[in-house]
């Protein structure tokens, strides 16, 4: 894109199109849909973290009042192993199916064992109590160390480690190993004047979306099925559910509802195949809604991680060598985000000598799911903590230390490719000049700095642009709007077509109406689906120019699109009044038919996102409680299409990262039962816990997008963990290396200091 683009509507802050529906309660979420004759479904979940299922008896439940159907694992086909397509690194279909409903073995407390559909939820719940399951309990594996111990109980007796130099000869809980490296590690450490070597640990945390998983499934007598559900990707729900049920993809229509948060956690399926199988058996539509407790016990958390880090620095602060051994919990099935973690851990810096080892490890916890920038927050918590400690020990300003090592355009990322234009240096310079950083700290307050990074991705997207007969515009897309994408799509369509934002309406359509689009995730929608919307709008412009040229009896290259209308090119001798979109739409029926533009693409040119966060924190030396006194999030957005939404992403990511740093964790009993499965005991930050999160958008345009867009949804959660921990460490006077920094942990550190 040109850096000197003169935008008319992009970069403005119009009212969000979904705002009125959401504040008035008219918006329909996953649980808000109903159909005539609909049954209510409920799930029987494992009371054990690890056990063999010896038998399941459902007769009594099936005979209970109001019950119309019961399903167990035996009602589902065996699904062959195979990678889940869709570009989300989403794992394996067989594991997905095994997670939806247990077969032979339960792998975590809360694993689905059976499901019931009845005329009321009370009847369904009562029937669950009548299902008799005989278990043979097995020892639970609840930590990385326990899982990797030589004598560890096996969660999957057939799991052979992949990624080893020689094929594994015996099963283990280590699903895969990934290694990266370059240069001469030991020579790099030999050069170092300072070596920081520590173990950093982060807990299992949940995405914490407010809306629980919910769906309605209806199986037709013609084997055509419909699902209404809250999801980040209707097409992914379609392919996953079809695979779990052994049905053709084309037999299933998925209608995405409004979504009350996802953050990566709604990129897979849990209830959807159960609802459809219950519907098939009962002949009635079935609604299923998780309780909050079920959300915690059975849906994807983010991986706990242990990272052993060693970084060497010269006296002037240059990184001479770096080494990381990273173990991530996958939960009960393979598929933690340790791969991206290994690529992120040193991504912000130029490092000639490094070695990284990543391990994907099974434990008896729910199967890990994506959570904003999967794998990156854990990784950069370690690196950015070490950078902070190095700055302190070397007597170098922490931003200056990062500037001395920061990657720039043309540098090779540690994972291989060269960076194009990136905004890390601009973010660091903005942070150094920010009033938050230049003002004096209050007494006792610690100040932390940290860098964040995420790749951002492209993937497949489709869009249609329909011009209505009065010149208003309808955009049809297939990506559920979780972060303001309807407003962004409308702005990009309006900018391209030269029409007012208010004349564009964006519809998130179902899988039979919209063209295929990958999931809303990976910070890809404003970038990739936006690109499709721009292309579809350009398709409209081409059609308008063609029609106007015909009308004026001239060639197409004699006309141009300007300010929302077709004009004769300057100097072209044509007697013509410019034809606006409204003019052409009004005559469309007499000029070849409706104006409909479309585009489908696999987007290339995604631009990585960097951020810098500043945090001021005060530790109560008597109680260990931490108060976040000030927080600033600075991030390169490429181009902020709707700045308020970008600021919202920065603020939301900061708040989730602060929660991850300070309070959030799964607390397990020795038997593997989560003991804090509710928002009273699993404490996410609320407004009264937080200062106003200040934001600053940096715009280093991404040349891979027509308007310079990078993704912005994920990078914001990466830096806060270390920014908070560094501030707390400074305030407490002791280096904190294990999250969360809850009062007991901080007190313990203070006592030991």
């Amino acid at each position: 894109m040109s850096e000197a683009m003169d935008f008319k509507v992009i970069g403005t802050r119009p009212i969000r199109p979904d705002g009125v529906d959401k504040v008035t309660g008219r918006a329909s979420f996953g649980a808000d849909f109903s159909l005539p004759g609909m049954l209510e479904g409920a799930v029987l979940r494992s009371p054990h973290a690890h056990a063999r299922i010896k038998s399941i008896k459902t007769d009594a439940a099936l005979a209970a009042p109001g019950v119309k159907a019961v399903v167990t694992g035996a009602d589902f086909p065996q699904v062959a192993a195979g990678a889940i397509e869709g570009g989300e690194g989403g794992g394996d279909f067989a594991d997905l199916a095994g997670n939806v409903i247990a077969r032979g073995k339960v792998r975590y407390h809360g694993h689905a064992v059976a499901a019931v559909a009845a005329q009321s939820r009370a009847q369904a719940l009562a029937a669950l109590a009548l299902i008799e399951v005989e278990y043979e309990p097995l020892p639970a594996v609840l930590s990385l160390d326990a899982a990797l111990a030589e004598s560890a109980p096996l969660i999957d007796e057939g799991l052979m480690t992949s990624g080893l130099p020689e094929p594994a000869t015996a099963p283990s809980n280590l699903a895969s190993v990934i290694e990266m490296g370059n240069g001469d590690l030991e020579a790099g450490f030999a050069e170092a004047a300072l070596i920081i070597e520590r173990r950093y640990q982060t807990p299992t945390v949940h995405q914490g979306y407010i809306e629980p998983h919910a769906c309605v499934g209806r199986w037709g007598q013609d084997d055509q099925a419909m699902l209404w559900c809250c999801t980040q990707g209707a097409f992914d729900v379609r392919s996953m559910t079809a695979k779990v049920l052994g049905q053709p993809v084309g037999s299933l229509k998925v209608i995405p509802s409004e979504i009350g948060g996802g953050f990566g956690g709604k990129t897979t399926v849990y209830l959807e195949p159960l609802a459809l199988q219950l519907s098939k058996k009962s002949g009635r539509p079935v609604r299923m809604v998780m309780t909050r407790e079920e959300v915690f016990r059975a849906t994807g958390p983010a991986s706990a991680a242990t990272i052993d880090l060693r970084m060497g620095f010269s006296q002037d602060g240059k990184i001479t060598a770096a080494e990381a051994t990273m173990a991530y919990e996958a939960g009960a099935f393979p598929g933690s985000p340790v791969g991206p973690g290994t690529m992120c851990v040193f991504a912000p810096y130029r490092i000639a000598n490094f070695r990284i080892k990543g391990m994907d490890v099974l434990v008896n916890k729910p199967k890990a799911a994506a959570y904003r920038a999967p794998g990156a927050p854990q990784a950069l918590f370690a690196t950015e903590s070490a950078m902070d400690e190095a700055a302190e020990k070397l007597g170098i300003d922490p931003i200056e230390l990062r500037l001395r090592n920061a990657v720039e355009e043309g540098d090779s990322a540690i994972y291989g490719p060269k960076f194009g234009p990136i905004g890390l240096r601009a973010c660091l310079e903005a942070a150094a000049a920010h009033p938050h950083y230049t003002k004096a700290k209050d007494a006792g307050v610690g100040r932390g700095v940290a860098v964040g990074f995420w790749f951002n991705v492209g993937l497949q997207s489709s869009a249609e642009v329909h011009i209505n007969e009065d010149g208003t515009v309808t955009v049809i897309e297939g990506n559920p709007d979780i972060g303001g994408s309807r407003a962004s799509m409308a702005l990009m369509a309006a900018e391209t077509l030269g029409v007012p934002y208010e004349s564009v309406r964006v519809v998130v359509a179902d899988t039979e109406t919209a063209g295929f689009s990958n999931v809303t995730g990976g910070s890809r929608v404003t970038f990739a689906t936006g690109m499709a919307v721009v292309e579809a709008s350009k398709d409209i412009i081409a059609q308008c120019c063609s029609r106007a040229a015909s009308l004026w009896s001239t060639d197409e290259d004699m006309v141009e699109w300007r300010d929302g209308a077709v004009h004769p090119r300057p100097g072209v001798n044509v007697e013509a009044t410019p034809l606006s979109l409204k003019d052409l739409a009004g005559q469309a029926g007499r000029m070849g038919g409706p104006l409909l533009g479309k585009a489908s693409l696999n987007a290339r040119g995604a631009g990585p996102g960097f951020s810098v966060n500043l945090c001021d924190a005060l530790v109560d030396q008597e109680t260990g409680q931490v108060q976040v006194k000030a927080f600033t999030a600075i991030q390169d957005a490429g181009k902020a299409i709707h700045p308020s939404y970008v600021e919202g992403q920065l603020q939301g990511g900061a708040v989730q990262g602060i929660g991850w740093a300070l309070n959030e964790e799964y607390v397990y009993s020795p038997e593997g039962v989560m003991e804090n499965a509710g928002f009273l005991d699993y404490r996410i930050p609320v407004a009264s816990d937080l200062p106003m999160i200040d934001t600053q958008i940096i715009e280093v345009p991404n040349p891979g997008h027509p308007y310079g867009v990078r993704g912005v949804g994920e990078t914001p959660i990466v830096a806060p963990l270390a920014a908070v921990a560094n501030a707390v460490s400074a305030s407490a006077g002791v280096r904190m290396t294990e999250l969360p920094l809850s009062p007991p942990r901080v007190l313990e550190a203070l006592d030991q200091a």
């Binding site: 989300e88 920038a373 994972y415 490719p417 990976g522």
Partner: protein, 81 residues
Amino acid sequence: MAKVHVPFDLRHLAEGAAVLELRGSCYRSLMAVLRDRYPALEAALVRDKAFVLDGEILDSPLLEAVAPDSEIHFLPRLGGG
């Protein structure tokens, strides 16, 4: 010839080579050459890694042309939330 950077953890499948210089005008011909020389490496790359051509991660490389001076990397597949 295009430079193919062999992922660190798969170099044992390429006799320890960090970089291979391969002749191929497109993704398909390049991978065919790789398959002939190091079949286990080619299989692992196709199964487990994302294809990166001249710095760009390509989700659908099947129809991609490769220039004589192209640099190719293979990365762990990316997810996203």
